[in-house]
């Protein structure tokens, strides 16, 4: 690239060769890019693919490997069938759905209200609170689970999904509020002034103007809250030991690993089923998902 640009005095005959080399350079860059991406894709997709392959195998095939373990010779859905027929696994699923739906609703109500208040209305200390939201977002769950264990225990909510509903907002609310503040702050101030003159009160301004205008942000925040609640692991591992109150993550990890008779096929099937909802959401709403992911840093 530089060669052509740096030597304007190059003789005309040489020019053709240089353009040729430029094209070649571009082609090489492209080849490097594709090779890197293919290798990366193989590495990134190998574990889930291997999980899928394993989940389609019978226990016999798993324990007597002939040739490569990476392909399945007699695919079967019996692992999935067994899981779906298992009331305990269905219970995990139900618990996860219950906790996630509740947490997402609570999170969105809390963070939309708070973000609107912090981005637009201001009150004494609102600046401090906005910084506080950001700092809270930096506090990891593993720093808090022991005191929360005590607190949840004192409330009698250990071994209950309600305990999870209570504490999951610490994972979701700060980030969702933070990105909603960003989205709301990017709405021009004149828009609320126009609404004010048009006769809107604060609630109408929020519901009729801010929420519809910031809908992409709300979707992104909802997806975030959903993924985080669904994937939460530390809190349920610490708070829940009774299988019938477990959500999927800890349920699969702790209950599907049975003694010595490793039911690998079933374990992998369970993990994949448990991972399915976030993957589906991701597949259909990838742009919002990524917007939410990057908003935290770019809007900050």
């Amino acid at each position: 690239m530089s060669a052509t640009a740096a030597t304007p005095s190059a003789a005309i005959p040489g020019l053709g060769r240089k353009i040729g080399s430029l094209r070649k350079e571009r082609r090489w860059a492209l080849i490097t890019a594709y090779v890197s991406l293919i290798v990366a894709a193989i590495v990134m997709l190998a574990p889930p693919v291997y999980m899928l392959v394993t989940s389609l195998k019978t226990s016999a095939e798993i324990s007597n490997p002939v040739g490569t373990p990476w392909i399945v010779r007699n695919p079967t859905l019996e692992n999935y069938g067994a899981l779906i027929g298992d009331p305990m696994f269905r219970g995990f699923f139900f618990n996860s759905i219950k906790v996630t739906v509740l947490v997402v609703c609570v999170t969105m109500v809390i963070s939309v209200l708070a973000a609107f208040s912090l981005a637009r209305m201001k009150f004494f200390g609102s600046q401090v609170l906005a910084t506080g939201v950001f700092l809270t977002y930096l506090v990891p769950d593993t720093l808090l689970f022991i005191p929360l264990y005590q607190i949840v225990g004192n409330l009698g909510l250990l071994n209950s999904t309600w305990g999870l509903v209570l504490v999951y907002p610490t994972l979701t609310v700060p980030f969702c509020t933070w990105i909603m503040i960003g989205y709301f702050a990017s709405i021009p101030k004149e828009l609320d002034e126009a609404a004010l003159i048009d006769g809107a009160n604060w609630m109408q301004m929020l519901t009729k103007i801010f929420i519809p205008v910031a809908l992409p942000g709300i979707i992104a925040a909802t997806i975030f809250a959903f993924t985080v609640s669904w994937a939460a692991f530390v809190y349920p591992t610490a708070f829940i030991t009774r299988p019938d109150e477990m959500p999927l993550t800890i349920g699969v990890v702790s209950q599907l690993i049975r003694g010595d008779t490793f039911a690998w096929g079933q374990l992998m099937a369970g993990a994949l089923l448990a991972a399915l909802p976030p993957v589906i959401v991701y597949a259909f709403l990838m742009d919002y998902y990524i917007a939410g992911l990057t908003a935290g840093a770019t809007k900050g």
Partner: protein, 314 residues
């Protein structure tokens, strides 16, 4: 309400009207009352579920095992004297540092490669490469665990197929640590990639064109245009990731659960082990609190970066 009164006084102090009790003023006052009420649930979450537990953790860490009496800083002292815990500190630092560096480099490389292929194809590649980030880590780690299995390891099968010897992935401390890092890098690289890609896309093409006309090679373009433009996003992403990696629990719990012989514990898993499994809550709280200074330093730098950028953008 108390906060509210303060606002109004502040307004009056800065030379506002001498006219008493007026509707517009009341309107403003009502506005900040409504604003405060709207933020109240958030304040409750931050105060009740973050700030208070954090303070409570400090209190807990000063108690004895039965939580009947205060023993001051003894828990911390005991921990610092314990060989195992000193290794946990080491381990966590090495783990976080090496994993973040690898993620940052690989993520940067992939973002760059992704940025260079035609826009039309980028979506599908991005879609595939982001998958590890989407799957809940506890679950994808199960897949890795199975790939690392001592007798049925599919990774060893590949190694053997190319003539290399089998690796005791989770059996030996050194390999176990490496395995934890591998899984963490696998799960975290997509996040870096996506952040960098967003940053790369925000660098206007004209800048590269101007640099090329000024005689910059591709490498110099990267060095003098791309990196400076992305400095902020790189540092913020690295700092975020440092916190998350440092505090990681899922992967260690599923992969090694601290073993072999408690040699692969990080702060989180050790705190869990001590606090919840062995029932020494105060000691466990003390273990988690050891994360705090490091997190505080990181948070300080993140905040400074964010503030700086806000100022630059304003």
């Amino acid at each position: 309400m108390a906060l509210d009164a303060t606002t109004v006084t502040a307004g009056a102090a800065s030379g506002a009207p001498a006219r008493p009790g007026l509707t517009l003023q009341r309107f403003a006052r009502r506005r900040s009352t409504i604003a405060f009420i709207m933020a109240l649930p958030l304040i409750a979450v931050i105060g009740g579920l973050v700030a208070w537990p954090a303070g409570y953790a400090i209190y807990l860490s000063t108690l004895n095992r039965r939580m009947t009496a205060s023993i001051g800083l003894e828990n911390f002292a005991i921990l610092l004297e314990s060989e195992t815990f000193r290794m946990v500190i080491w381990q966590s630092c090495i783990f976080a540092f090496s994993a973040v560096v690898l993620k940052a480099l690989l993520g940067f490389w992939l973002a760059h490669m992704l940025h260079h292929i035609p826009t039309k194809g980028q979506r599908i590649w991005r879609g595939m490469l982001l998958l590890p980030w989407v799957v809940p880590p506890a679950l994808s780690t199960l897949g890795w665990w199975w790939m690392f299995d001592p007798s049925y390891s599919s990774l060893n099968w590949i190694l053997n197929a190319i003539g290399a010897p089998s690796v005791p992935w989770l059996g030996e401390p050194w390999w176990a640590r490496t395995s934890v890092i591998i899984v963490n890098v696998w799960a975290g690289t997509p996040f870096f990639m996506i952040m960098y890609l967003a940053a790369l896309k925000s660098v206007p093409d004209q800048l590269y064109e101007a640099a090329a006309i000024d005689g910059a090679t591709g490498w110099q373009g990267l060095r003098y245009v791309t990196l400076p433009m992305m400095r902020n996003i790189i540092s913020i992403t690295v700092l975020f990731s440092l916190i998350v990696t440092f505090a990681n629990y899922d992967i260690v719990r599923v992969l090694t659960n601290g073993g072999p012989r408690d040699l692969t514990h990080v702060f989180a898993s050790y705190a869990f082990q001590v606090g919840v499994l062995s029932g020494n809550i105060p000691r466990g709280a003390a273990v988690s609190l050891f994360m705090f200074p490091i997190l505080a330093v990181v948070a300080f730098f993140v905040l400074r970066g964010v503030n700086q950028r806000n100022r630059e953008m304003a």
